[in-house]
Symmetry: C2
Subunit: 149 residues, 2 copies
């Protein structure tokens, strides 16, 4: 799908605040809200917009600890290993990467004890992984809502 400047303007607004009324988007890009409605529908259908999510503060809902976990996967066990990772509560993202690690996870845990349990009882107990490294996120200095548009 080809995006024009109008599409990009709409995407920027919805990336910044997904609850912006179409009528306000219309005012800002100087078009009718019917057009905005139309274009947003098309962006959703084309998979350019994949959803709208409230940004919920992890600490405030009881997840005091977050970490990045690097994993090495044994040859041939990839699919099996990944499907079991997906089932673990607290695993937020599973990225397949080049470099030192085959898989990088982003995980949430209540506290460091819960993180230890998550790593030992779940990840380390799985076979298919030969090595892991946990990097606790001490803080997040900056984070945007997605790619620049």
């Amino acid at each position: 799908m080809e995006l024009d400047d109008t599409d990009r303007a709409i995407l920027r607004i919805l990336q910044e605040n997904a609850r912006t009324p179409f009528s306000e988007i219309a005012r800002r890009i100087e078009m009718s809200s019917a057009t905005v409605h139309d274009r947003v529908g098309r962006l959703e259908d084309a998979g350019v917009i994949n959803g709208y999510h409230a940004d919920v503060d992890a600490k405030k809902v009881g997840y005091g600890v977050s970490a990045l976990v690097g994993l090495r996967v044994e040859q041939g066990r990839e699919e099996d290993a990944l499907s079991r990772l997906r089932e673990i509560d607290g695993v937020q993202a599973i990225h397949l990467t080049t470099g030192e690690w085959d898989v990088m996870l982003r995980v949430y845990a209540k506290d460091t004890d819960a993180l230890r349990d998550l790593m030992f009882d779940n990840v380390a107990a799985m076979d298919g992984f030969s090595r892991s490294q946990t990097m606790i996120i001490l803080g997040t200095d900056y984070e945007s809502a997605g790619p620049p548009i």
Copy 2:
């Protein structure tokens, strides 16, 4: 702030789809939309909800490559180094971590050439960093919209 089951139900719905009308949330949790309106306002004020963002597909807006970058920061240069990282276009997140790296970035680039430029012209050219490692994200197997609630 103390969250009760009603708050958590609202958070789950808005995390899943931030554009859900309050009237529909009200139906689903069996309360009036005035109450939903009220509670959402309180969750926003308390910083439990920090915004609502459209999930925009990076590839579809021209960012074909994404990577995780580990950095070592020289002692005493932390604040200076971080503030310059924040200015680089394509840097989506800056996490301070324990372990092998002091800082982990999530970056977006148009293609591998653009990623090389980003790393060489921007990151490596900065002083304050002594070592770096780039892990290209080949794919994302799973990703949730935030912490479990």
